[in-house]
């Protein structure tokens, strides 16, 4: 029982730390002077959401939330790739760079 409460305490501390990290990332997204700051902040918020999901899953005794975390990670990658491709080419339908001769 003692170990269980210690584990819960650890998860609570981790959740609070992740919330603080989310706040910092949101600040960077709002203040970020360049597009890359904002894209990185968006990615960090997505990662923080995944971590929060996992920790809430363990806090409520349902570690199968981790599967949903994997789905979030995939979505995060797609969104970030779309943002970066748009910034590089200005067009989502661009075919990419051709090899130079």
């Amino acid at each position: 029982m003692e170990g269980l409460t210690e584990g819960l305490f650890m998860y609570m501390v981790a959740a609070i730390a992740i919330l603080v990290a989310l706040g910092l990332a949101v600040f960077r997204a709002l203040a970020g002077p360049t597009v890359f700051d904002r894209a990185l902040a968006a990615n960090a918020v997505g990662t923080g959401a995944i971590m929060l999901l996992a920790i809430v899953g363990f806090l409520t005794g349902r570690p199968e939330f981790l599967d949903i975390g994997i789905l979030y990670a995939l979505l995060n990658i797609i969104a970030t790739l779309a943002v970066l491709k748009f910034f590089r080419y200005g067009d989502l339908g661009h075919a990419g760079e051709e090899p130079k001769d």
Partner: protein, 188 residues
């Protein structure tokens, strides 16, 4: 609570910023925060929908829209006082409406007394669907779901018609796209 505060901050940022690219990214962040709030409320399926639609597809679609429009939002021509007044009155009405709601997770709430026990007890017998949510959506409220599907189908057709109107009529579709990308390449 912290998440909701962050969401409010992000919303104010969306309203204040004029760079639409940053606004799109902030929209993605807002969706992820919203999904986290849904998880806190123990609605994992809604959170998954919010993350996939709000943060994933919406961001991509909005970026595609940015390609067709300008990157900077123009200054509004009129003062925002009247819309602000309407929004504040509506929000006040909604908050007044939440006063009468039963507390969150209350098992004695009206919503849990009406038809929910019937669904929970008889869904296997009446529909032989093991998941109660699925049986409610697809069987008990089948016409409702059909209506929703019709609405989404109509919206999809409308969007397709609008997008088709943008193409020059003389060129066939695939050739037109190829020709356009070829024409743009020297510039990039």
């Amino acid at each position: 609570m912290v998440l909701l505060t962050l969401m409010a901050i992000v919303t104010i940022g969306v309203v204040r910023l004029r760079n639409l690219f940053a606004v799109v990214i902030l929209g993605g962040i807002y969706s992820f925060l919203m999904a986290s709030v849904m998880i806190m409320l123990d609605a994992v399926d809604v959170a998954m929908t919010e993350a996939s639609v709000g943060a994933g597809i919406s961001t991509v679609l909005m970026l595609g829209t940015l390609y067709l429009t300008k990157m900077e939002e123009t200054r509004p021509a009129h003062t925002p006082l009247l819309p602000l007044f309407v929004a504040v009155v509506t929000a006040g009405g909604l908050i007044y409406g939440t006063i009468d709601l039963p507390p969150f997770g209350d098992a004695a709430g009206i919503i849990h007394q009406h038809v929910a026990p019937h669904y929970l007890q008889n869904s296997i017998v009446e529909t032989s669907v093991p998941n109660v949510v699925t049986s409610v959506l697809a069987s008990y409220r089948g016409f409702d779901t059909l209506g929703e599907t019709v609405v989404i189908f109509t919206a999809g057709i409308a969007v397709l018609l609008l997008l088709k109107g943008r193409r020059p009529a003389s060129e066939p579709d695939s050739n037109a796209a190829k020709a356009r990308s070829r024409r743009r390449r020297p510039k990039a």
